[in-house]
Symmetry: C2
Subunit: 454 residues, 2 copies
Amino acid sequence: MPVMVHQLLLPELREAIDTDDMKMVASFCEILHPSIIAEMLHELDEPDAYRRVFHHIDSVNGARLFEYLEPDRQDVLVSLLPVEDLAKLIEHMSSDERVDLVKRMDEDREAAIMPLVARAEREDILRLAKYDESTAGSIMTTDYAALPASLKADEALRRLRREAPDRETIYYVYIIDADRHLIGFCELKDLILAPPYKSLAEIMREDVLSIPVDMDVEEAAQYLAQYDVIAIPVVDADKKLVGIITHDDVIDVVIEAATEDAHLMGAVQPMSAGYFTTPFWETIRNRVPALVVLFGAELLASFVLQQNEAFLLTFPLLLFLVPVIMATGGNSGSQAATLVTRAVALGELEFKDWIRVGLRELGQGAVLGMAIGCLALAAVLLLGPHDEVLRFALVLTLALVAVTTCGSLFGSLLPLFFMRMGIDPAYSSGPFVASMVDVVGLGIYLSIAAYVLL
Amino acid sequence: MPVMVHQLLLPELREAIDTDDMKMVASFCEILHPSIIAEMLHELDEPDAYRRVFHHIDSVNGARLFEYLEPDRQDVLVSLLPVEDLAKLIEHMSSDERVDLVKRMDEDREAAIMPLVARAEREDILRLAKYDESTAGSIMTTDYAALPASLKADEALRRLRREAPDRETIYYVYIIDADRHLIGFCELKDLILAPPYKSLAEIMREDVLSIPVDMDVEEAAQYLAQYDVIAIPVVDADKKLVGIITHDDVIDVVIEAATEDAHLMGAVQPMSAGYFTTPFWETIRNRVPALVVLFGAELLASFVLQQNEAFLLTFPLLLFLVPVIMATGGNSGSQAATLVTRAVALGELEFKDWIRVGLRELGQGAVLGMAIGCLALAAVLLLGPHDEVLRFALVLTLALVAVTTCGSLFGSLLPLFFMRMGIDPAYSSGPFVASMVDVVGLGIYLSIAAYVLL
């Protein structure tokens, strides 16, 4: 297992670096997968080790290794390495990775490095840098194989062989006309299986899937996942081929989106860095806003209670049951919000489904409320002995049915309305829904209590 | 865009099916991607349409289409189609998909169909069915290309051409010895680039990554994502090659795992079917347990309040502030639990990190508590005018610092201890942590209040 290999070889890599045995370092980089070298360097954790490795490694292997480093390590190296080495590295990186790198550089550094990058690569970077972070364009690569339809199969294979090292995938070949319009595609295996004299026009499949360059990046990921393809071509408004999105970038998008949603649903501003790599104060900044807003919402609940002081002090049991009422409504709301938010993230639900969703959750909430309400009957008896036990039981049961239903309805609809307003539905989940249901539920509870008890 | 194509052609497909124009239906299946046909059939939403399409389609196209149907549709078809057609379909399905299908069949149906499946495929199904749902073995396929090292490059290419239609990927070729031990691999492009007379032993790379067949399926997915490969070979305890896992299955695993975690973190038992396709009562069953447990926890909070009745009724403001104390502790706990649970899911944190995590969250909680505590000072003044305002402010501020710190600490450590005990850390998130912190926080609050006020 590679995990073991990497632990066994770590001391040897350290020694090779310490003794400046660069032939040994180079042979490590030849033999091991770049992601393993990256992990080993990460464990050595010395900026100088990085600098020395990159100073001696050839630029093709260097570029592969560089792509596997964490973005913050990449940024440190950008400030440490000589500009000439960096320019060479950038030329050999895959087109999607290097754009992200250049976008993160400060202006001075970018101005120093970019003129040294070969013209074709420089223009490619500038072209890709235009696309917004949230679009398919931002994760696409321009390292794809595109060929004209008139080419014969054997000539196409020869071209692919020549271009192979520079392409992220040659397993899919895209067929374009003279104006770069995407007109078809074939798989490498189709080419191998075809008679050598046949033209690509005869071999290619015309039902080529493509996505527009401005498609939302998460939607693009769903698309590729749905069709089980290794890569999907990206076209501009004129249907001209401008890039491809590959399966590895899609996995990254899916994982990042899930993390973002999980954070939002836990009332934390999304953080893309790791748990320990996110600075302490940045985590604080990402947690404070939600806590403050929710604190405000709960103050409102306290205020409602205080306004009903006279009534509540006449029936103290009502006050003691406040946690039960609030939490049950909130939990029911969290559940509904979670189910709907996840369904929206998976592309299952749209805003137009809101009536169906609302009706379903009305039913869910009512059934769940009645189940909890039955339990509550028993619970009041446990909390007693107390006068008027039956009337309290009635208040509690009615209130539980009401807040559970209200929580479920509210929790399910809020994400849909957020989506409609262009806000990420995940914002509406968990603690937010719970706090809002707390206040509304409290109002319902007190109204029912007043009606039954007074 | 395919979405439009599919909407445009829907009436035509419906007509072809209604008029039994099976040549037209077959040509639809030839031209369009099976996932699009699957979506169109889904919108037609008539079991009979499925049955008629599958009765007339050839088994290769049928198997591809079948794989794109939702599992519940597949199960309906299993009960509708003649056993002979099903056996043919199963023979042509990819090996990982058909195992899942057979596993879901009831015993009678399986006993009726399996004897009609060709022997090689039947044995393959039985072999794969042995692997546990949670292991790499359960998502691997046996449709890979494996060749002996002694083969020359040109002969290898000829073999691949012959076998291509039956393989999930021929882009990676695995090299095995006489006992099926995995000894190397090469990419299809290496084969094409190599001189025809070279043996695979000379061309292959020996640093082949592999994962054990009993590796956890989510870990396997992370592995493939980390190395950016299209497929990864799976070996048994003797290092013999038993299958491969492909990129499309990994995306599915990642998405499913994210859904499962999201549900658990929202206090819902995970559901793999869609929002509307999950039956109403199944959703109820998945929501009731958490609601009941949390209801019980909150009853405990009510009980604690009732036990302190005399004290609380002397200072009613204490009672009115209960929602603020409980919610703030709970929210801080939800945040910490979310951050840690997600980091665990991404493989960033392990149990051994618990001290570092605990110290960090102690700091986070204290800082957050002090921030909210400052706000609370202002808040008490707003809730007043009241005697002893300053002493109440002291109680509230101290209690907020304490419950926020306690929530953060508790919320961060619980997922790690759950993981240690072999329970999915996601169980410990959100509402569960919140409810537990509610009760503990209430105790802290009342102790502080008693100390300051009495």
